[in-house]
């Protein structure tokens, strides 16, 4: 399949402090890639560059024109009703029917006419996903979109993202620091360290994935090992 994203020799420095070192990476069309790594490893910087929010780079990056993003905080404009937030920035008059369709897809069609302040964290994140997907992106960038959600809500929204990805068929780059989340969702997991892609793992598990299967558990152990996290503390229930 053709590539959706091609990154060649990408580097980025902040005040002489190199965050990305000569990075090469391809994302295929429709591929779900998770980017794992510790804080400060450069994963969010990479995502911002792909989003076009950071242009002070060395090297070359080719991305689809139609791309959108959802962030850790939903970043809804508080002075626009939910549905207006969804269609913000689309050409032409705000199309309420289009917004309603997108909101229906994320399961909160009934909240279209309210102010963002009345939404719960999970609902706001769903609106943020609807806003990203209503643009029919070829590349969807997700920057820890589940990070601020409670565990129960997180599971539901992860499930939703998996479904949306399958119905839209866009390439997804998910930045996360949650190993299980990466393994539940991604075709391929990249581990970043010190501005480079240190490890790469193709996840061949059948979907929907079950985090209790031995295959899953062994992949998780590998990723945790790469990240330098050991879970062999005595007395810690597994």
């Amino acid at each position: 399949m053709a590539n959706s994203v091609e990154i060649r020799g990408l580097s980025r420095a902040f005040d002489g402090n190199t965050v990305l070192h000569d990075l090469d990476l391809d994302l295929r069309e429709g591929e779900f890639v998770a980017l794992l790594g510790h804080s400060g490893c450069g994963k969010s910087t990479l995502l911002r560059i792909l989003a076009g929010l950071d242009g002070e780079i060395g090297g070359e990056v080719t991305v689809p024109v139609r791309r959108s993003a959802a962030f850790q905080s939903p970043r809804l404009l508080p002075w626009l009703k939910v549905w207006r937030n969804v269609v913000l920035g689309l050409p032409g008059r705000p199309d309420r029917a289009l917004a309603a369709k997108a909101l229906d897809e994320v399961g909160i069609a009934d909240r279209a006419g309210v102010w963002p302040k009345t939404l719960s964290g999970g609902q706001a994140q769903r609106v943020s996903l609807a806003r990203a997907l209503v643009r029919e992106p070829e590349l969807l960038l997700l920057d820890e979109p589940f990070g601020a959600l409670d565990a129960l809500t997180r599971g539901k929204v992860q499930q939703l993202v998996a479904e949306l990805w399958q119905s839209h068929g866009c390439a997804v780059l998910l930045v996360t620091h949650d190993v299980e989340e990466a393994l539940l969702l991604a075709d391929r997991v990249l581990v970043m360290d010190g501005g480079r892609i240190a490890h790469e793992l193709t996840v061949d598990l059948p979907r929907p994935r079950d985090l209790t299967t031995p295959d899953f558990v062994s992949l998780r152990a590998r990723l945790l090992g790469w990240l330098g996290v050991t879970r062999t503390l005595e007395g810690t229930p597994s």
Binding site: A69, R75, L77, P78, L88, G89, K117
Partner: protein, 288 residues
């Protein structure tokens, strides 16, 4: 010795409140005492003060040469309204305030947009505004008289000047406090420069702008009081300086009350406007 006195100053460490229980009492009223409506509670203070003033005048504690009684002030209000002098004065003053405000607000809006949206504008305008603000604007009255004479122009100019600063600084501050994350998200969603200004930057400057508007309106009336001391031949200030010549404290107080009421009316209008424009905000609204 020193250690001992130190010891006395520092309270003894209290035992952590681990033991015992507390009862959390419900605050829901159970119909024992009918709650006083808030509007009544709010009115109680001012009404009480006027009552006190009336009593002080009626008993002669407060002589009329110092401050006229509220009854006299009220009588003056009726008389001056009947012969049309008060309405004419209010119209003349209101006109000055309105024109001055409009000029000042326009200048403030243009300058704050230029300084808020463009870095060049910031460099050129903001430092100058900071410098000018350090000059007390009331002190410019003599200069304004030299420049503009003693007709309407210096009065309107003074109001405009007083209005410009609070509006400028609040709108500029509002624009600059726009959440960079929202700007980023909006740009990601395809908003251009104009769209960013319309949908992100101006709405987020709105709360600050409304605060500035409240300050500006109260400053407008204040500036008017000063300005109308300059050779006025109409308006509330003229009424006041005339009254001063004849020691008519009742008229002076009446004019002060009218100034206050006009200021309150403006404030009320801005509060209504704020409530309508800022419904999207989730704010703490005070405890009952």
């Amino acid at each position: 010795m020193t250690t001992e006195s130190l010891k006395a100053a520092v309270p003894a460490p209290q035992a952590a409140p681990t033991a015992g229980r507390v009862t959390i009492r419900g605050t829901v009223r159970q119909g024992r005492r009918p709650a006083v409506p808030r509007s009544v509670r709010r009115a109680a203070g001012p009404v009480g003060l006027v009552l006190l003033w009336f009593l002080a005048s009626a008993t002669g504690v407060l002589p009329e040469s110092v401050l006229a009684s509220p009854v006299d002030v009220l009588r003056q209000a009726v008389d001056l309204t009947k012969d049309g002098e008060l309405p004419r004065a209010i119209a003349a003053s209101g006109r000055r305030a309105a024109i001055g405000f409009l000029i000042g607000a326009t200048v403030a809006l243009v300058l704050s947009l230029l300084a808020g949206l463009f870095r060049l504008g910031e460099d050129v305008i903001d430092s100058s505004m900071g410098m000018f603000r350090a000059i007390p604007w009331v002190g410019l009255i003599p200069l304004f008289i030299v420049w503009f004479g003693i007709e309407e122009t210096p009065k309107i100019a003074l109001v405009a000047l007083g209005v410009t600063y609070p509006l400028y600084f609040n709108i500029y501050g509002g624009i600059r406090s726009t959440d960079a994350q929202l700007v980023e998200a909006a740009r990601m969603m395809g908003l251009g420069r104009l769209g960013l200004v319309m949908y992100v930057i101006l709405p987020s400057a709105l709360p600050g702008a409304l605060v500035g508007l409240r300050y500006a309106l109260s400053t407008a009336w204040l500036a008017l009081v000063f300005a109308e001391q300059i050779n006025a031949d109409a308006g509330l200030g003229y009424l006041m300086s005339n009254a001063q010549q004849y020691f008519r404290t009742d008229v002076i107080v009446l004019c002060l009350v009218v100034y206050a009421l006009l200021g309150l009316a403006c404030d009320f209008a801005v509060r209504i406007l704020s409530r309508r424009l800022l419904t999207w905000r989730a704010n703490f609204e005070g405890e009952a």
